[in-house]
Symmetry: none
Subunit: 183 residues, 2 copies
């Protein structure tokens, strides 16, 4: 979202939306004529401040996949800027990360990707909260890339593997969040 020229789509920022709507959907609370509060039916609509903080955590603090503990803390903090739940934070990071990668895959390989306004330094990895991944690719271990952009046919499978070298430690879970409970 940021490496892109987002010239649009900055929907409402209702820092304090009085549309306390939650779960209660389909109630037929069809707005009469004016959009007091937009589609606040189900989807979380992050406020600008929430976005700012989330991006700050993502880019300046290297947070990519916060743990449940972090999620709680983050959402608690963001709650002062608007309604938010833990899962929103979870999904946000998940989506943000996935889409950044996705963009690198087939989105514009535009060499000139500058961010306007919503600047955010690249993964400088100034991690203050060490959540470093142990094995293999840590922060920034992205290795694989898209194939040569010019190739008439030859359809390949759609999945590029993600497993690092097949060296798998017998009893070592490479997921930082998965605690090993083996003696």
């Amino acid at each position: 979202m940021e490496p892109q020229q987002q010239q649009q789509q900055q929907h409402q920022n209702q820092e304090d939306m009085n549309c306390s709507n939650n779960g209660g959907k389909g109630g037929g609370t069809s707005s009469s004529s004016s959009y007091a509060c937009r589609q606040s039916s189900t989807r979380w609509t992050p406020t600008t401040d929430q976005i700012r903080i989330l991006k700050d955590l993502y880019y300046n603090y290297g947070v990519r996949s916060p743990t449940a503990d972090q999620i709680q803390r983050i959402s608690a903090r963001l709650r002062q800027y608007g309604k938010i739940e833990g899962k929103n934070v979870f999904y946000w990071f998940q989506n943000h990360k996935a889409r950044e990668r996705q963009k690198k895959r087939f989105f514009s390989p535009d060499p000139n990707s500058n961010i306007n306004g919503t600047a955010a330094p690249p993964p400088t990895a100034s991690v203050v909260n060490p959540q470093t991944r142990g094995g293999g690719r840590g922060s920034g271990g992205w290795s694989g890339k898209l194939p040569p952009p010019e190739e008439p046919f030859v359809l390949h499978n759609k999945f590029s593997n993600l497993t690092p070298p097949g060296t798998r430690v017998p009893f070592l879970i490479t997921d930082p969040h998965s605690f090993i409970f083996l003696d």
Copy 2:
């Protein structure tokens, strides 16, 4: 073959745009509007040839969600008809599929015994050449997904912080989608 007929091909004949791009293939400006090149700085405006090819891929080849690999190839091929990027192809298929489904869902609630979970039956596709995938997931297309997950038992256990250190969770298989984002 027309679940959604283009009742009005509004804006897609300006391939002759002088917008600092590959010279399309002349012709075409015979629309009924004196509209030359306006959207250069905004969103992508597919040319008729690009649309034709995209639809051909969609309907005749059953392409619904091209892979990053395919997207690169498709966009590369379409580039000779006008400016285009990978993300445009991505969005095009995404939108086309979504809107076809959306219209179908709206126009035909048809709760027949056709409740197949995910697959949308070939709307009108005449799958001539099932490329890598069929006209949908249900019709014997591709089925492979991620490589075998590594964690045999430890699934999505990032919430294990809820357990005090030292407390080992034996075989907690949490429902992958029954998150416990307690707030």
